[in-house]
């Protein structure tokens, strides 16, 4: 046999096989943390240059400009009652996964374990867990929550890559503070990308696609961005508010 006669070729074949497995992002022995093509950890601050009027202040009741709201959503939009939300313990409705990345504030991103990325938001003191193990987020879905169940996947590319997150099992929430709704059947797909900024700055871009068969006529796409901060000295947790 040729393989027996030429050990160099056998070795080359093994090296190539290993390279194929590695290049395709496989490697069952490496964790999601080890395979991370980009580093998302650290403190990040919202830099609000887009949708300012809908994010930095509470818009007027009844306004839903730029959101493809369905007919079914309109009665809810016009009936928004923040005091009723507060009384019912629903003051976190605008801090759910469908909108939390657009709420001005800071993120603290860490690895909870080798297969789970944790995103904490000081606005509304929310915590999101992004599970990399296939099926981990949906294996036994518990009760619906503001942040739902998130499955994460790395999308590596030469010299970098991206993080894709799909979230469902959500508690019904708001896309904006003034009560523009998304329902329990909504799905949130996010793409986390990073870019360098002048000096040693870093920018995090989160392209967010909310799809909801009930309250949206089409995908609602926004792309809030964040600047990297050196430390957590400006971290300032604040509880949810239904009015602000």
């Amino acid at each position: 046999m040729i393989f027996h006669r030429d050990p160099k070729r056998v070795a080359l074949l093994w090296v190539l096989f290993g390279a194929v497995v590695s290049a395709q992002g496989g490697g069952a022995s490496t964790s999601a943390r080890d395979r991370a093509p980009i580093d998302l950890t650290g403190y990040w601050v919202s830099y609000v240059t887009e949708n300012w009027r809908y994010r930095m202040v509470t818009p007027a009741k009844g306004e839903y400009r730029r959101i493809p709201a369905s007919r079914a959503a309109l009665p809810l939009i016009n009936a928004w009652d923040p005091a009723a939300d507060e009384r019912a313990g629903n003051q976190c409705r605008s801090y759910g996964a469908g909108n939390i990345m657009s709420v001005p504030g800071r993120l603290h991103i860490t690895w909870q374990d080798a297969g789970t990325l944790k995103i904490e938001a000081d606005a509304g003191t929310q915590t999101r867990l992004l599970h990399f193990a296939p099926g981990a987020a949906t294996a036994s879905p518990g009760p619906r929550t503001w942040q739902g169940e998130s499955t994460a996947t790395w999308e590596p590319a030469s010299g970098g890559g991206s993080l894709r997150v799909v979230t469902s099992n959500l508690r019904a929430g708001y896309l904006r503070k003034n009560g523009v709704p998304y329902g329990e059947r909504a799905t949130v797909t996010e793409h986390f990308d990073v870019a360098p900024l002048e000096g040693d700055g870093r920018l995090l871009l989160v392209t967010t696609i909310v799809e909801d068969p009930e309250y949206l006529t089409g995908p609602y796409v926004v792309s809030p961005h964040f600047k990297k901060e050196r430390d957590g000295s400006k971290w300032d947790p604040a509880p949810c508010s239904s009015t602000w």
Binding site: L16, V45, V57, P104, A157, S158, H191, V221, A238
Partner: protein, 300 residues
């Protein structure tokens, strides 16, 4: 002999797989038509004075407030068009073509097609050197790109002095614009980071998403000038910066803080929300002259 042949072919096939696997997601197909998604407010041109989301220098603010949109009725300014930043600030989609070297088949450039008031933009992908600083500056500028981490990364220089908002917020010819174009499935997101040493305190960062279109996008014919009531030799319409009659229009309409509407840096960070929390009163629901989505519309 047969075993030798099989082994060689196996090695060759594996090499091809390795090369393909390591480069498969390094680039994406940027040529095609991409329609604007339009669910994000990036144009900010519905009223004459709306500098929300900008970090302007005092000089920029003064110049912006001196701008009168009637300037566009002057025949020599009607077709001046808008600069490179209008790629993400304008309402149009992307019609992208690629140009290849006929010998090597490599992409030499991508061209983003023109719109009625925006010149086409060429992104050179062949590492060509930038022209001299003294070379001609144009509305589109000079753009060189490369692939990096799965994104198309490009930098535009040599822009003509112009605007970063259609409402007269200025940008100098020293400005640079860094682009990062991501593609996730059918969605293309264009990230713009515009830096201007004269008019911007911090870079203006705007991202806009487009969706792959199954049919080629429509395009508008080039601008044609016409008489709009201004005679040659008439003065250039303008305001004294402290007497712009529209300065407080947006402030009153939406109960917005004046410093936010006028583009002060501190208004871009979360701390600012805490500062205005106790003083801000949301506007009442729109009851007359409303847009289709419950927004206020000014009828002039």
């Amino acid at each position: 002999m047969l075993i030798h042949l099989v082994a060689r072919r196996t090695l060759g096939a594996l090499l091809l797989v390795v090369l393909a696997a390591s480069t498969a997601s390094a680039q994406f197909d940027f040529a095609g038509s991409f329609a604007p998604v339009g669910t994000e407010d990036v144009q900010n041109d519905s009223v004459p004075v709306d500098y929300l989301g900008l970090a302007l220098t005092d000089e920029a603010r003064a110049r912006a407030l001196s701008y009168d949109e009637s300037q566009k009725s002057m025949i020599e300014r009607q077709c001046a068009g808008w600069g490179a930043a209008y790629l993400v600030l304008g309402p149009f989609g992307l019609r992208v073509t690629s140009q290849t070297d006929p010998v090597t088949n490599r992409v030499v450039s991508y061209t983003i097609g023109a719109w009625e008031d925006w010149n086409e933009m060429v992104i050179w992908m062949d590492d060509r050197p930038r022209p001299s600083d003294h070379a001609l500056h144009t509305q589109a500028g000079f753009t060189v790109g490369r692939w990096e981490g799965g994104a198309l990364v490009a930098r535009t220089t040599h822009v003509k002095a112009g605007f970063i908002r259609k409402t007269g917020v200025p940008l100098t010819d020293q400005a640079t614009i860094d682009w990062r174009i991501f593609r996730h499935g059918d969605l293309v997101t264009v990230l713009m980071v515009a830096t201007d040493p004269v008019y911007l305190v911090e870079p203006e960062i705007v991202s806009k998403s487009f969706r792959l279109s199954r049919t080629p996008l429509d395009f508008r014919a080039g601008c044609v000038t016409g008489y709009e009531g201004r005679e040659p030799g008439d003065s250039v319409p303008h305001f004294a910066p402290d007497r712009n009659p529209f300065a407080d229009e947006f402030v009153k309409l939406y109960h917005l803080p004046r410093e936010a509407v006028l583009g002060y840096l501190e208004t871009l960070y979360p701390e600012y929300r805490k500062k205005i929390k106790d003083s801000y009163v949301p506007p009442p629901p729109c009851t007359e002259s409303c847009g289709a989505a419950g927004n206020f519309v000014i009828k002039r």
